[in-house]
């Protein structure tokens, strides 16, 4: 083959290589966007997470998603303008305005500069992550601390700090004291105890890496990443961790390996799988955990499942999440702890929702829906025959709700009465709605339908707030009837 005929072939190969390179780069970008990065927000009112969106290579957050759990929000897009009204609990209403493609806006009538241009995705307005702390400081008049690299935001001094106290002895013990109770995930492996704080706003005590002059416990290392904090305790041999002082202290010490070694060996044929010393050790008796009253709020749909298309630009999943946050806020005002089953635009199957709800063991499961048919608020309990079965043992998956129907109906009735008191049209019904049938706890579903002003009312902050207040008041009124559950 002569050099003249090789040149076009080389050009063709080069073109194919370019196409492949662009395809790989594009797929990489799509993959990176698909990874759901979240900003964990810790305030004294609520702990929640907000999806981070990549815009022009910078992390952005949705303005409404950040503000909604912190107060009442009314936002609308007007061409290139984004107008938001935000009212914190007991505070004054603030007006915000941003323009698409501009890095300047107005907050409470004053100029406000953000780190990069304001952007829209659909009807939602997004600001750069780096500007969230200064914006919230203006709106809430409180201290805001953003740990941008680890995607953690702390509002109003919500941080939990810790101290390390090594007590030398036989064996040595490391007492980790926290300024407020924590409930980390604890993982052990030979030489390590890993404490992972996903829900608690634990922050560094000032010195992230501490070494101990001790034969058993050798160091403690603090790190933050992906919206959570982690404290790793290192040592020699197997370690164990126990809670004390109602979750305000965690004690790390050497696991009693000798106890395992002293155990007589089992016959070979009956030998169990190999166990680490930590797994095999006899656990010290622990005080039973205090019962707690938790309402689990499930904003229906999410991710690819948009639910009903309320309007072409307003999917049910967004209305459900917004209302769920308002309900959480109103419950907090009444002193009731609640948790959201999803805090972002997440895909969850019906079985996953039921599995997670049953694992949390809530005092009440509350599913939130929205629709553009009917009017007012529809409150549903499960369409199942009442079953007189014990709640203690295993329950059939498809009818797990049957033995809780009396309590579910009591909650539905109480909420209907509160809606009535606020002159909101309402209907109480039974429905074959999954995953309610699979929930082993009192469970209801609330569907927000338009008020007489039309389908746009579903996105109206005042309407949603009134409904959320009714729901919270209804739950509070029957709290005494609902069982508190050990965590």
């Amino acid at each position: 083959m002569n050099p003249a005929s090789r040149a076009p072939r080389a050009a063709l190969v080069a073109a194919l290589a370019c196409v492949l390179t662009f395809a790989v780069a594009y797929l990489d970008r799509v993959h990176a966007q698909a990874e759901s990065r979240q900003l964990a927000v810790f305030s004294l009112q609520a702990t929640y997470s907000v999806p981070l969106v990549d815009i022009n290579g910078l992390p952005y957050v949705g303005l409404v998603e950040v503000l909604e759990p912190l107060g009442s929000v009314d936002a609308r897009r007007d061409g290139k303008k984004y107008k938001v009204q935000f009212t914190p609990p007991g505070g004054k209403k603030a007006e915000l305005q941003f323009n698409e493609g501009r890095d300047k806006g107005k907050v409470r009538g004053n100029n406000f500069k953000i780190a990069a241009n304001f952007a829209f995705q659909g009807e939602r307005g997004y600001i750069p992550l780096g500007s969230v702390s200064s914006l919230l400081a203006q709106l809430l008049s409180t201290q805001i601390v953003l740990h941008q690299a680890s995607q953690r935001l702390f509002i109003g001094g919500s941080e939990t700090r810790y101290s390390l106290d090594l007590r030398k002895g036989t064996p040595s013990r490391l007492l980790i004291g926290f300024s407020s109770p924590v409930n980390p995930t604890i993982a052990t492996e030979p030489g390590y105890v890993h404490l992972k704080f996903q829900r608690a706003p634990v922050v560094s005590s000032g010195n992230d890496s501490v070494t101990f002059d001790d034969p058993v416990l050798t160091g403690a290392f603090f790190s933050e990443h992906d919206g959570m904090a982690q404290l790793d305790i290192t040592g020699k041999g197997a370690l164990m961790a126990n809670f004390a002082d109602g979750g305000k202290t965690i004690i790390v010490t050497a696991a009693p390996i000798t106890a395992v070694e002293a155990t007589p060996p089992l016959p070979q044929a009956a030998a169990p799988p190999a166990q680490t010393a930590t797994q095999a050790m006899p656990r010290p008796p622990e005080a039973p955990p205090a019962p707690r009253f938790l309402v689990l709020i499930d904003p229906a749909h999410g991710g690819d499942d948009i639910g009903a298309a309320i309007t072409p630009s307003l999917p049910e999943k967004d209305v459900a999440l917004a209302l769920a946050r308002r309900v959480q806020h109103q419950l907090a005002i009444k002193g009731i702890t609640s948790s959201l089953l999803r805090t972002g635009d997440t895909n969850l199957s019906l079985d996953q929702r039921a599995t997670w709800a049953n694992a949390v063991r809530p005092a009440l499961y509350l599913s939130i829906h929205a629709a553009n048919t009917g009017k007012g608020v529809h409150v549903f309990t499960s369409l199942l025959p009442v079953a007189d079965v014990s709640r203690g043992g295993f329950l059939p998956w498809d009818t797990a709700q049957a033995s809780f129907l009396d309590l579910s109906s009591a909650v539905a009735g109480s909420i209907a009465a509160e809606l009535e008191a606020r002159k909101l049209p309402n209907t109480t019904l039974v429905a074959a709605l999954r995953p309610m049938n699979n929930i082993a706890a009192p469970a209801i579903a609330v569907e927000l339908a338009p008020n007489p002003s039309g389908v746009e009312s579903l996105a109206n902050a005042a309407y949603q707030d009134t409904v959320a207040q009714s729901i919270a008041a209804g739950v509070a009124a029957v709290r005494g009837k609902l069982p508190e559950v050990a965590p």
Binding site: M1, S5, P8, R9, L12, H301, D305, G307, A308, A309, E316, L350, H369, A371, N372, T373, G374, K375, H378, F380, L383, P385, D398, T427, L429, V430, A431, A432, L433, R434, N437, A445, E447, A449
Partner: protein
């Protein structure tokens, strides 16, 4: 050699363009056929039996209610065919314009199988589920009206299973559970509350 590669490349591009055009044509034809089928859909069922009064439980989205209506329909003699004819009359009411409870265009009942143990298996078409308005109450009203109507016109039908295109589906349009059997007794109680 180079000329051969370029020629092959050009032929492949031409084939790709040709296949794309054919796919576009097929898509248009399917859409046209579906539209034609919808336009030709019968609202009242065909029948070879006598004109018979039937009771239809008609849902209303306006006030979230179920109301009993009487209609005279030509009903076939065979039991499963009669059940299908009754349901098609119910769907016909919902497909009219204006409708008290709109369901998706092209919704139809493909078959009803009535078993000796009092079970009716209703096989709806894909359009029924794919284009049904989504909502807890809207879907609940549809299911309740179907089950109560079947039971009102054949009281031996005590439980109903709804299929879509011959297969089980998780929900109707995101809410109503279609994996279960609906008991007529339960939904009669619901219907009473909704009247």
């Amino acid at each position: 050699m180079t000329r051969h590669i370029l020629a092959t490349f050009l032929v492949l591009i031409l084939i790709a363009i040709g296949l794309g055009a054919y796919a576009w044509y097929l898509q248009k034809r399917v859409a046209r056929d579906a539209e034609r089928a919808h336009q030709q859909q019968e609202i009242a069922p065909p029948g070879n039996g006598a004109e018979t009064p039937v009771e239809l439980y008609i849902a209303s989205d306006e006030d979230g209610s179920l109301h009993k209506n009487q209609l005279t329909v030509v009903l076939p003699l065979e039991r499963s065919e009669r059940a299908r004819a009754v349901l098609r009359a119910l769907f016909g009411t919902y497909l009219q314009s204006p409708s008290p409870h709109p369901i998706g265009p092209g919704s139809d009942v493909r078959d009803v199988y009535v078993l000796d143990d009092g079970t009716a298996v209703v096989d709806t078409n894909a359009a029924f589920a794919n284009s049904h308005p989504s909502g807890v109450l809207a879907e609940e009203l549809t299911v309740a009206s179907m089950v109560v109507t079947l039971n009102a016109n054949d009281n031996r039908i005590q439980r109903v299973k709804i299929l879509v295109d011959g297969k089980e589906r998780e929900t109707l349009a995101g809410h109503a559970d279609l994996r279960r059997f609906y008991l007529a007794g339960n939904l009669n109680q619901v219907a009473k509350e909704l009247q």
